[in-house]
């Protein structure tokens, strides 16, 4: 049986396909193009044209994600987002006691997991300044790639703006002051940590499992590890964690 897990994120739609042997293949689509090209609303539900996606026709679809509240995927079972991420993290790391840190395009989530169950959680609320979208913007301001931004954590410049947009202005000010790109990039990565620190502190355990697209930021992994003084585990497919969680849930509930 071909199982399909879909995580409808704010920046990209992540698809995990699980074949009968338990092997995975992954596919990523830009969110807006995905909705424009592959989905159409039928009676208030999103009908996804799997044939056109070229992924084969799955027997079962499990969906989650930010879009789940606005769009019901037709024929899919829909599970809560945090649940999908917790199941995905357990599936990938085989851990059952940890603090899950998920940083996505517009979301920051911290979940306390004990005995394989979600016990408590915190999320960002009215502001998305601690997320992937912020890193993309700041990389653009510095005129460097995300990969380059993700390398630096030493000698960070101090950035304090509450607002991500004003943060750009503040960063430009630091550029004018003559700081190195490495310091500027480290400063940007540190601002993310400062935002999530209160959430992590409240729900800290012996291990942090870091997922979401931002987990690809090696500098941030270093910062979280050295500041929180616990090991940070980044699973093999951090960005597909929610989609993997959907597949794992689909397997369980068969």
């Amino acid at each position: 049986m071909l199982l399909c897990g879909i995580d409808l994120g704010s920046r990209s739609v992540k698809v995990a396909l699980m074949d009968p042997d338990g092997g995975f293949s992954f596919h990523k689509f830009d969110t807006v193009s995905f909705y424009r090209q592959h989905g159409r609303a039928v009676a208030g539900q999103l009908q996804v044209d799997f044939a056109a996606l070229g992924l084969g026709v799955p027997e079962k679809v499990v969906a989650t994600g930010y879009g789940r509240q606005t769009i019901n995927v037709k024929g899919a079972e829909v599970i809560p987002e945090l649940k999908a991420h917790v199941i995905g993290a357990i599936q990938q790391t085989k851990l059952s006691e940890f603090t899950l840190l998920d940083l996505g395009g517009q979301d920051s989530k911290v979940v306390l997991v004990a005995r394989g169950r979600m016990m408590d959680f915190q999320t960002n609320d009215k502001c998305a300044a601690s997320t992937g979208r912020y890193l993309e913007n700041m990389a653009a301001v510095l005129d460097i790639s995300l990969a380059e931004l993700s390398r630096h954590y030493e000698h960070p410049v101090d950035l304090n703006s509450t607002c991500a947009i004003f943060g750009e202005t503040e960063l430009i000010g630091k550029v004018v002051e003559g700081h190195t790109t490495a310091s500027l990039a480290a400063g940007v990565n540190y601002t993310i940590f400062k935002r999530i620190k209160p959430m992590l502190t409240k729900l800290l355990t012996d291990t942090i499992v870091f997922t979401g697209g931002v987990a690809n930021n090696q500098a941030l992994v270093q910062i979280v590890e050295s500041e929180m003084k616990v090991p940070v585990v980044v699973p093999e497919y951090p960005q597909y964690n929610g989609a993997i969680g959907c597949c794992a849930w689909g397997m369980e509930s068969r």
Binding site: Q69, P80, K83, M118, D120, F121, T123, D125
Partner: protein, 325 residues
Amino acid sequence: MQKIGMTTTIPVEVIYAAGLIPVDLNNIFVTHPNPQSLVEEAEIAGYPRNLCAWIKGLYATTLQNDDIRTIVAVTQGDCSNTHALMETLEMAGVKVLPFAFPFDRDYDLLKLQMEKLVTAVGTTWEEVTLAKARLEEVRQRVKEMDRLTWQGDRVSGWDNHLFQVCCSDFEGDPEAFASRLDAYLAELPQRDPIKADIRLAYIGVPPIMDDLYDYLEERGARIVFNEVQRQFTMPFDIDDIVEQYRTYSYPYGIFYRLEDITRELERRQVDGVIHYAQSFCYRQIEDLIIRQKLKYPILTLEGDKPNKLDARTRMRLDAFLDILR
């Protein structure tokens, strides 16, 4: 009869005793066909964007209802934003009567405040006592409705919220309100029971969005305790009206409120607590005390604009219910 606005619950007996019609401005604001337009109107006038939507709504509501030329504003026991609300309304020619709930719940100070209100609206303590007896008739029925909420399974969280929240002003006509409630209670036995395996408490100011209760019930969870709304109904059976408003918890400190909350959570056997706080409200700080003091799973919700739950809040509610199951 002349109308008199109010920024939150006050000793409404005094207003009825004076033969005036009390109007809780919050209720007018939030039931407006387009409440967000009122918030925007206040912002155009110069109210900051990063400020409580209730205050902005109250400002524009008062200006739009030109039959309300006097308001009673709670200057202590609610937020300091009310002070600037009073001042900006005064600028617009509205007469403002300040009312202060003493922070330490001092009996004499509270009595003095009520006395000043009695004088300001031109009534007497005798009339106030009569008005209290009149309202007590209605309050008893609301109390029964609340009892049926947690001891029965047919009163929805929304209905519980709505009937109780209306007790700040009894919609300007206590008897008409009572008959509406009587009709509701009479047809209750014919209603389908609400199917919900999770019992929740809602604490904090009433929500600015109106779909929270339905959203939860669609997912098998129901609210059986609305903290502040219940306080608006004065559910105490106290003869002394000063003592009644001293027992009323909302305008006083969080520790006093927590005594009432703890008692009711226990009595109503809830599985979890939703603490609602308005964006930019000082009560958001008190969340940290609530989290330390209440030994229940707690979800803190933040509401900003009127109307519907946003996608983030729905995601958080889903996750919370998931934890409780």
